[in-house]
Amino acid sequence: MALFTLVIRRTVYGLILVFAVILLNFTLIHIAPGDPAEMLAGEMGGATQEIMASIRVAYGLDKSIPEQFLIYLGRMARGDMGTSFYYNQPVTELILQRIPETLSLSITALMMAIILGIILGTIASQNPQGWFSGMVTVGSIAGFAAPVFWVGIMLLILFAYLVPLFPGFGIRTVALTGGPVIQALDFLHHLVLPAVTLAIVFLAQYSRLMRASMLDVLGSDFVRMLRAKGLRERVVVYKHGMKNAILPVITIAGLQFSMVFGGAVIVETVFNWPGMGQLAYESILRRDHPLLLAILFFSAIIVIIVNIVTDLSYRLLDPRIKGGH
């Protein structure tokens, strides 16, 4: 079917999905025991009934849940996503502040994982019984099985403490003087350890996936035909084999990108990297309704967009998917 129709159809489905997400999350967060007033009272080490009542009124929590939902929808329609109960800042500001950090972490990690994964997987597939392939297999099982926080803490201890090459917390050296180049380098310096930690989990998957996918493709008929034609092995493998074997890796990476964007909580916590994952997790613990709902809303939108993009990229990579035959 035409590209245009596809995008339109996907967008409409997407919007319906987003509405369902908001409704579901709104209900869930209000069912959870404990409300923001209690959470604030907890932070304060106590509060009188009057103070808690005044907090509830200030946040509109004294109204019924359906009423609150309608008020929320009304505000959203006007573009007002609300103010965080905890930070007392507009939630859009808080989210926008964290987007560069989150994006840089997830994109860097995934790119590292994809590129390295493809390379390792391809090399492994060249000699599937060999020692390199064995290493890739074992390594990916280890990388996949090892808990992320453990990997993070190990890297932290190794490279931020025993051999202090990297900072180990935060996204920048506070109050660093220097122009944008120095700031950027400082940021990258802080990015290395968390990105590597996150990359390891995905690298494990992608290298194995690529290896299996290459073996599959290289054993298929058309490759046999190409070899019969007399093409050099290198051309067969790199030009024809990889292009086809990449598809599963891209699919998975696309799905996982949206996961990583909002879900790298553990890495963010270990390295004190203030990203969306931590923000979302903490907003649940703090019952920060407006912030949580806004994060879920944006995450839903991102998932939908990424899925559309993944679909489109198929069409670029795989000429078989074009018309709706």
Binding site: G34, E38, M39, M44, S54, Q97, A160, G168, V270, L279
Partner: protein, 533 residues
């Protein structure tokens, strides 16, 4: 010859200086300058006038001044108020303010601001009524005199006027129609203290800079305070070891890491500085639920808990046993109470006497125990140990985990519990943080850290009421001694230990804040003997 003598004399004096320098006996004048990097946790707001809690109070003490400050002995010492007198009946307190004090925007601090702050705190602070319920009004006869008119004598008044409990906030900023709880000045503060707000990135850091026109000339010494917002215990420990951060109070790292850090020669570890907060941990009983309504059952449970084991093994010797409602650092503390040293025989006897014999499998009855899901070292580990301890006297305990803090809070404040581990702060006067747990009038459903146990003894209420207005220290102490005797017999809670908060700081920090308020006191006297690079 003379030249030689002169030369060797100069050499000798020079060597003397060189030797004496590291001991600081000569160079003890604090030098100005330098940045202190502190470990901190995320806060909701910086306005300590309406928000309490560690995360707000530490920066709050830097941003806001108070009428008085407390020294290492709980004595009130002049701060914004340079002197004060009180009338014979104790109902009128006259404070004379420094006449050169300004807010961070340059406007003068006057008695109007003191009156405004008092009203704000009384209305909005969680302990506002407990601290200032007896203050009818604050009169302002002139810009530098504030007169407190009390309806009853209030011996807890001076400690309540510490910077973190009665922060002096600017009337001209907070008089705007914006409701105070969501006021932007709660972050971009206009304060009265030695440091002013410079920058803040949520989740990352807070920067405070010296306020050059602070009313104590020459202070503060430090240029800048950077609060690094950190949660992960490993990276906190590493940052202290690598000297990237140089001060951490209420440190949320494991006690074993504290052991390790203490061994480093450039760090110092202390338990001082928590006396004004007075943090206690206890096992709370819901005395409404059978069989906890029987005091013998509660006492039996207390006798089954081996507090020595908890302190020496679970908390690796880093805490002190809590014996009653008061922290041992309090002037009203009395150790002349039943301490419930481990006595399994007595526990079993009491349970039998109470009419709960062992039945099949040796179980007498079953109870549910809750605990806060944060800080496992002082919550979950203790709960699991106590479960085992109670098993040995025939009480079957089921642990109920709460997925997060608000869930736990919801359960306890709504009396949906049998037993729970809890941590409660005394604060510098019992009126503020102690009474609330034991008085009948504070049994309020839905309010956390009220009298959630449901304990009610009108005699106790009477004693505490008298103590809250008793001006004479000896008489007041006698009342609190009686109070401690009664509640340690009637046991609405079984006190276990004083929470082992530690402060870790760099050895080259001069005048580290070690009054009873610890980190929650102004850092105006803190300086770098030698700033680490």
């Amino acid at each position: 010859m003379l030249k030689m003598i002169k030369f060797s004399l100069v050499l000798a004096v020079g060597l003397l200086f060189l030797v004496a320098m590291p001991f600081g006996s000569f160079a003890d004048t604090p030098q100005k300058g330098g940045t202190l990097n502190l470990v901190h946790s995320q806060f909701v707001s910086l306005n300590s006038a309406i928000q309490s809690g560690v995360a707000t109070m530490i920066p709050g003490a830097q941003l806001f001044a108070g009428l008085v400050r407390l020294d290492e002995k709980f004595q009130a010492v002049p701060y914004l108020a340079r002197s004060w007198e009180t009338s014979g009946d104790g109902l009128t307190w006259t404070f004379h303010l420094a006449n050169n004090a300004t807010f961070h925007d340059g406007k003068p601090i006057t008695s109007e601001d003191v009156a405004f702050s008092l009203e704000t705190v009384k209305k909005n602070h969680p302990f506002g009524v407990a601290m200032f319920g007896n203050v009818d009004r604050v009169e302002t006869p002139d810009p530098h005199t504030a007169v407190f008119k009390l309806s009853k004598p209030t011996p807890s008044l001076l400690p309540s006027l510490s910077p973190v409990l009665m922060s002096i906030i600017p009337k001209h900023v907070y008089s705007s129609p914006e409701p105070i709880r969501t006021h932007p000045a709660n972050i971009k503060t206009v304060g009265s203290g030695p440091f002013k707000f410079a920058d803040y990135k949520p989740g990352e850091f807070l920067i405070l800079d010296r306020y050059d026109k602070f009313f104590i000339p020459g202070r503060p010494y430090l240029d800048r305070l950077i609060f690094h917002i950190m949660k992960d215990p490993t990276s906190i420990a590493i940052s202290l070891e690598r000297q990237k951060t140089q001060y951490s109070a209420y440190t949320s790292i494991s006690l074993r890491d504290i052991d390790r850090l203490e061994k480093l020669d450039y760090l110092k570890v202390t338990r001082k500085g928590y006396e004004a907060i007075g943090p206690l941990s206890w096992l709370a009983f819901n005395v409404r639920n059978k069989p906890l309504d029987d005091v013998r059952v509660r006492q039996a449970i207390s006798y089954s808990i081996d507090r020595k084991f908890i302190n020496q093994k679970l908390l690796i010797g880093r805490s002190v046993q809590a014996t009653g409602p008061l922290h041992h650092g309090s002037h009203f503390y009395s150790g002349d109470v039943e301490k419930y040293d481990l006595n399994i025989d007595k526990a079993n006897k009491l349970l039998d006497q109470a009419g709960y014999p062992r039945k099949d499998k040796g179980i007498r009855f079953s109870l549910m125990m809750d605990y806060e899901p944060t800080s496992p070292e002082i919550q979950k580990n203790i709960a699991e140990y106590i479960r085992e301890a109670l098993q040995s006297v025939g009480i079957d305990v089921k642990l109920r985990t709460s997925p997060d803090f608000p869930t736990w809070m919801r359960r306890i404040s709504n009396w949906d519990f049998d037993l729970t581990i809890d941590t409660v702060f005394n604060y510098p006067d019992p009126v503020i943080g102690v009474h609330r747990t034991y008085i009948c009038s504070n049994i309020k459903k839905g309010v956390m850290w009220s009298n959630t146990q449901g304990y009610c003894n009108p005699k106790v209420d009477e004693i505490l009421e008298k103590a809250s207005v008793e001006k004479d220290f000896t008489k007041r102490k006698a009342l609190y001694v009686e109070f401690q005797k009664i509640v340690t017999q009637e046991l609405p809670v079984a006190w276990t230990f004083e929470v082992p908060y530690h402060t870790i700081y760099h050895k080259d920090l001069g005048n580290p804040p070690l009054t009873v308020w610890g980190a929650m006191a102004p850092f105006d006297e803190v300086y770098w003997v030698k700033e680490p690079k």
